[in-house]
Symmetry: C2
Subunit: 363 residues, 2 copies
């Protein structure tokens, strides 16, 4: 057995070698996709962002006719020590209760994924509770929640590395299962507090401008949440130039797990649809570490959390949907995945001007 | 046989009695839907516009758990005499060629509908061409295209009434087939010219602000298109206060058919997802005649045609998608229908706080 110190080093090494192996998108694949799109029976460019998606899929997958049929959303659940500071409208027990709801197929993410033919993969990466006898849950519990970031760092380095590596493992599993499109989702009472703290630390924006009502705080409670985040940043002093330092000190286990998943997906050329504010905070950490990862990400939707806009700008993504949703779980990603799959099918299933005998534009 | 004059009167009577029978949405159904939504395992309102859609579906269908499984898009095709004025980047033969492409399942609308489980119903309501031996086409040809609106009225009153009634017939067919969600689509080289003319006449906006590039005109050709529309409005003098006068003089047979379809769907409490600029011009005529029809319409997407924004404001609809599409055929409606169906499933398939044993917000 390795001594704990050595194990941590090797787990960190694994993460950094994954980061180093993120591939580049080659322009020739994008050009090939553009030529194909212009041969299809529609005015050039008239399918708008569907064409942009189709091109990006071709570049990511390095396939002329990318397929998105094998779809999954990874919904990672964890608790947050900062809930001690009463930053959420809901008690923290709801994290565990909602995991059970996911497993019995009753949550919004289950309904939306069933509708779109997406598998929901539920991961316990840090819930403060047990799931005896529950089937269908992937158990990767790193800890029973994070520590209270308003008093100390949310995670130890070992915990951070374990969560990142759980994400890498899940990306490996996705690749082995032949997944061609994955999405990120999360459940964790208190996790908009983490996402706002990450956003402020990573972008330099004021806490008040990137902090919203979460699951439904009133003005007074939301102002209290701002103060708690300001305290957490003052106590921990996360380094803007060190995204993993930010993630460890004010992040969450599910956020770290998603960061690992996103990095791992990029290394395997699996496109990732990110969901709302919390998922995007995980993606922003990944992109801050390795900007090439931006090319593998599709922003599913724009959440009504104010910090989400800031993070989407940070990672240079325009969301596909803007339906004023703020539920998380992966719900925005689930809706967007059907649009992305549509774009893939446009590439492979539409007739060309030549094959259909349709005249082109008058020159 | 009725003399032509009498027939026209009776067809007009049929349209106006359909308009008179459009029902109202009862607030108690919306309240019932809101109560159900707040009992589901999610923070109140957190599914944003999905909740708004779900409420509207309940109100339209007068069912607590509306179903959207039996979906169809009606793609109506017709030619436009105004193509003589060279207002399109494509030759008018493309209308007929694209209908054949629809029938052989090779167009974008076929791909998107197949993906989302939507039937495409292709209607020849005025194509200047024949379809011998083509199966799957609904033949309701009123004329071989409209007249050139830059010189005279696009339709006679008899033609207008025949097209409106073809739409009413299709709505009746949809009801008989048990359709619970329908969409509008169209194909007609030159029909953005008609839609821009309708928009200018109906809203009073300047032609130049509501006229775009259609399938891809350059600046010079687009300026020519503006002049042609200005001429058509000057020649025909459509009455702002008389939407059917506008439709007859500067509309198209497919636009009139869609107006009839939308009116007929509203009378049968079938929600209608409208597509882009041309479909919305048909909806705007219907809503100008009977504002209650607005309640039965979902705007699928925002097209990149500049006049579309103006029309969406006119009918008081916020589009569900904004993907910079400008293809027509019903493509934007097809993508939006899957979101609307998702919203319906949220109502019927999600667990409640009570059934899932999830704690509510801390009071």
């Amino acid at each position: 057995m390795n001594p704990p110190g050595k194990k941590v080093v090797s787990e960190e090494t694994r993460f950094w070698s994954a980061v180093a192996s993120v591939p580049s998108i080659l322009p020739e694949w994008l050009e090939r996709a553009a030529a194909r799109l212009d041969s299809l029976t529609k005015p050039p460019g008239s399918l708008g962002r569907l064409e942009e998606i189709a091109k990006r899929l071709v570049g990511i997958r390095q396939e002329t006719w990318p397929r998105c049929a094998a779809k999954a959303i990874f919904t990672m659940a964890a608790d947050h020590g900062v809930t001690e500071e009463r930053v959420s409208a809901y008690p923290k027990e709801v994290t565990r209760q909602m995991v059970l709801n996911f497993l019995s197929q009753g949550a919004a993410i289950n309904v939306l994924c069933r509708h779109a033919g997406i598998d929901v993969i539920v991961v316990d990466i840090g819930v403060d509770g047990d799931f005896p006898g529950s089937s269908g849950l992937i158990g990767r519990k790193v800890a029973r929640g994070t520590r209270n970031m308003a008093r100390e760092a949310a995670m130890s380095n070992a915990e951070l590395c374990a969560a990142l590596n759980a994400g890498l493992d899940l990306a490996e599993m996705a690749a082995k299962e032949g997944r061609t499109l994955i999405g990120t989702g999360e459940m964790g009472i208190g996790n908009t507090t983490s996402a706002s703290a990450i956003t402020a630390a990573l972008t330099g924006c004021a806490v008040a401008t990137v902090t919203g009502r979460g699951t439904g705080l009133d003005d007074q409670s939301r102002n209290h949440k701002v103060k708690v985040i300001e305290t957490a940043l003052a106590v921990n002093q996360p380094q803007k130039s060190d995204p993993l330092d930010i993630l460890r000190k004010v992040g969450g286990l599910e956020i770290a797990g998603l960061t690992g998943l996103i990095v791992g997906a990029a290394t395997r050329r699996i496109p990732v649809v990110i969901d709302g504010f919390i998922s995007t905070s995980a993606a922003a950490i990944a992109c801050a570490i390795e900007p090439k990862i931006k090319e593998f990400i599709f922003a599913g939707h724009r959440s009504s959390e104010p910090g989400h806009r800031v993070l989407l700008d940070f990672i240079g993504q325009r969301p596909l949907l803007d339906l004023e949703m703020r539920l998380g779980e992966g719900t925005g990603a689930a809706l967007a995945m059907t649009i992305i799959e549509s774009a893939a099918k446009i590439m492979s299933e539409m007739a060309t001007f030549a094959s259909a005998g349709v005249a082109g534009a008058v020159s």
